[in-house]
């Protein structure tokens, strides 16, 4: 467990995650206060990644619950192993001894319980509680969110046939949302909140250097300058850090050491994912952005 924000920031950097001071502070507080951390932000800004990196640097198990519409108890928390239970009933019938109460007690025993991510997280190793990543919470519906409240505030779940299962040590909980809808205030109230923004040029440069180490320095600078400038444009979907890294790797595969308008036009699909956006930037717009970026780099060096 890190003792200071600086230490956490360094440890994250050691695992190639360059966190802003704000994000590091929020994560540090979540760890120390034992509160869930709600991360909101555009797609591809490293919300999911920080959970993975945290688990790795703290030496904890990562348990991931990917949310989707209609996510229910059976796939999020627990399910009974019905086929085995059916067989158990048949066996009891064959021996013909069990009474009804006995049968019910036998059937709903822990050995027939299939544990899904939430329950796994609560029953993790008490010495090193796992990191629970509840990814894209905005994709589920309100009923599931309401259920999550019980889990997040008391770190316990109730199974009618078994009773309440409570975590000995609460897991580290990280929730992410792409904001395709507003998360309910009651959930937010139980969490620390941080809006994960696009990184500034210096931080993005550092991230790309670490994630695509083989790229030429000049190429990296031009790429970051280009992407940063794209984020100022009126686009439907702005490119995230993930796209910057992908693009750098794509250009490395093409053995480019610097950007040129033609290459940009050919590979724009790595960066922009909407046809309208691509049509807007392709050609003269891309060339003029590139010229500007190269001029700025020339002044800077």
């Amino acid at each position: 467990m890190p003792q200071t924000i600086d230490e956490l920031q360094q440890r994250l950097a050691g695992a190639d995650y360059i966190a802003s001071r704000g994000l590091a502070t929020a994560a540090f507080l979540a760890l120390r206060m034992g509160r869930p951390l709600l991360l909101e932000g555009e797609a591809g800004t490293g919300k999911t990644e920080i959970a993975k990196v945290l688990a790795a640097t703290l030496g904890r198990q990562l348990i991931r619950l990917q949310c989707y519409e209609g996510l229910d108890l059976a796939s999020a928390v627990y399910e009974w192993n019905y086929p085995r239970q059916m067989i158990e009933i048949r066996l009891a019938e064959a021996t013909g001894k069990a009474t009804r109460e006995q049968l019910a007690a036998d059937i709903f025993a822990e050995r027939f319980l299939i544990r899904r991510p939430l329950l796994q997280a609560l029953e993790g190793d008490p010495a090193a509680p796992p990191v629970l990543l509840i990814d894209e919470l905005d994709r589920t519906d309100e009923p599931f969110e309401a259920y999550l409240l019980e889990v997040l505030s008391d770190f316990q779940v109730s199974i009618p046939e078994l009773g309440t299962i409570k975590a000995a040590t609460p897991p580290v909980v990280i929730l992410t949302s792409n904001r395709t809808r507003e998360i309910h205030d009651a959930v937010k109230r139980r969490c620390l909140y941080h809006w994960v923004d696009y990184p500034d040029a210096a931080r993005e440069l550092e991230i790309v250097r670490r994630k695509a180490p083989g790229a030429a320095e000049r190429l990296t600078r031009e790429i970051v300058g280009f992407v940063q400038s794209l984020r100022g444009q009126d686009l439907f979907k702005l490119p995230g850090v993930a796209e910057t890294i992908d693009w750098t790797r794509a250009l490395m595969e093409l053995d480019r050491i610097r950007l040129d308008p033609e290459t940009i036009n050919d590979t724009l699909g790595v960066l922009l994912k909407y046809q309208d956006d691509i049509a807007r930037i392709k050609g003269s717009e891309a060339a003029s952005i590139l010229a500007q970026v190269q001029a700025e780099l020339a002044v800077g060096s």
């Binding site: 001071r21 929020a26 209609g70 229910d72 059937i107 905005d138 309100e142 809808r181 620390l192």
Partner: protein
């Protein structure tokens, strides 16, 4: 920060929270306590850490960041200064004109002391004369506030009646969750097992279930330009009723108004009292009865809101006459995008008052091909009329084919 200030820290954090609250951020006591707790861990050695610690506790949505940022820098430079400013501002804030009691119509009626005689009727002749003016749209952006009549008891009753019978022509969304159903196609294994135990293993009676369907989330886009202003009050009553409908409490309803700019009023409409809610809406929206820039507003909606609101099979209800100041420029493309990002797009157009009306305005022509359901409304003067239009049996509606 000097150590000597530590003893005052708790007090100052509390004052800071009060400043945020006065500025309109919903900050509760639990957050103040959480902030103090957090400061124990993060320390107050660095201003930057201090900033982010308070931010992680007090801020809980993206749009609060700028406000928090300003308040933080003002308050923690010189807490007294800001305190004095807030103090000077407070009486003004509280004394804004909105103090008039909007419930007074209903109260007066209740006490039987001469209710104001049907204000709508009085306005009738005036409206007849002004219709032409309403239909021509002004080319400049009019910034003005709307003052709505408060709702009469009769209107409240009408709204309730409307909602009781209202069936929006929306296709329900089938969820992955199951509901017990004797004739369901799927087998509810949990219920079956319980039944088997109850039968003590002799037989296993199958219990069945069927996927549950729910009404989709709804996004309402209301045109409040000059040509639509005679319907504005009624539409707002309608969307308020929709947003606060107890029968479909689980449905999410978002409401945005547009004239020359786009304003989200979902939060304001959550106020249960319709008059108070409309007061807040009126204070919030700056472009009542101005010109219309449908294309530009839809562009903003597509770019800034569609991903946030149109997830999970949302349907869009568009209340607009389709008269566009910019002659429908870029409108078709924006409508097409809107249509493609939602499950169902319903357009209710109150302009078409005459049976032989043909859509000639450029805006209407551009928008027509991109709606799933086009509801022309001829005489739309009351909530009851609106209910009638929306409640027509499907066969009587003109179903527009999807754009080829």
């Amino acid at each position: 920060m000097p150590a000597a200030e530590g003893s005052h820290l708790a007090e100052n954090v509390m004052h800071f929270a009060r400043v945020l609250r006065t500025a309109g951020m919903p900050v509760g006591t639990h957050q103040v306590l959480a902030a103090l707790d957090a400061l124990n861990y993060a320390g107050i050695g660095r201003r930057e850490d201090f900033y982010w610690t308070l931010a992680s506790v007090f801020v809980d949505r993206r749009e609060q960041r700028e406000l928090f940022d300003q308040a933080f820098h003002m308050f923690w430079r010189d807490p007294d200064l800001l305190g004095r400013i807030m103090h000077m501002m407070l009486p003004k804030v509280e004394g804004l004109p909105a103090e008039r009691d909007k419930t007074h119509h209903r109260l007066q009626e209740a006490f039987g002391r001469g209710a104001p005689e049907a204000p709508q009727l009085e306005q009738q002749p005036e409206q007849e004369i002004e219709i032409d003016a309403f239909l021509s749209f002004s080319s400049r952006e009019l910034l003005q506030q709307m003052d709505f009549e408060s709702m009469t008891t009769a209107e409240l009753a009408a709204a309730k009646r409307l909602l009781a019978h209202l069936r929006l022509p929306l296709r329900e969304v089938r969820t992955r969750r199951l509901a017990p159903d004797a004739r369901g196609r799927r087998i509810d294994r949990r219920a079956t097992l319980k039944a088997a135990i109850a039968a003590q293993g002799d037989v296993i009676p199958l219990r069945r279930a069927t996927p549950r369907s729910v009404p989709p989330p709804l996004v309402v886009l209301v045109d409040i330009s000059g040509s639509m202003s005679r319907h504005a009050r009624m539409f707002l009553h309608f969307v308020h009723a929709l947003a606060n409908d107890l029968n479909s409490a689980r449905r999410r309803v978002s409401v945005l108004l547009f004239g020359t700019r786009l304003t989200s009023i979902s939060r304001e409409l959550r106020q249960r009292d319709v008059d108070v809610a409309l007061d807040r809406v009126s204070a919030r929206v700056r472009d009542w009865a101005g010109g219309t820039r449908i294309g530009a507003c839809l562009h903003d909606f597509n770019r800034l809101w569609s991903r946030r609101l149109l997830g999970q099979n949302a349907c869009v209800l568009l209340l607009s006459d389709g008269l566009d100041r910019e002659g429908g420029e870029g409108l078709a493309a924006e409508m097409e995008r809107l249509h493609k990002s939602c499950r169902q797009l319903i357009w209710l157009n109150p302009l078409l008052r005459y049976d032989g009306f043909e859509a000639r305005a450029a805006g209407i022509v551009a928008m027509r091909p991109h709606v799933d359901l086009f509801l022309p409304a001829h005489n739309l003067d009351s909530l009851a009329d609106l209910g009638r239009v929306l409640a027509l049996p499907p066969a009587m509606r003109r179903l527009e084919p999807r754009a080829a």
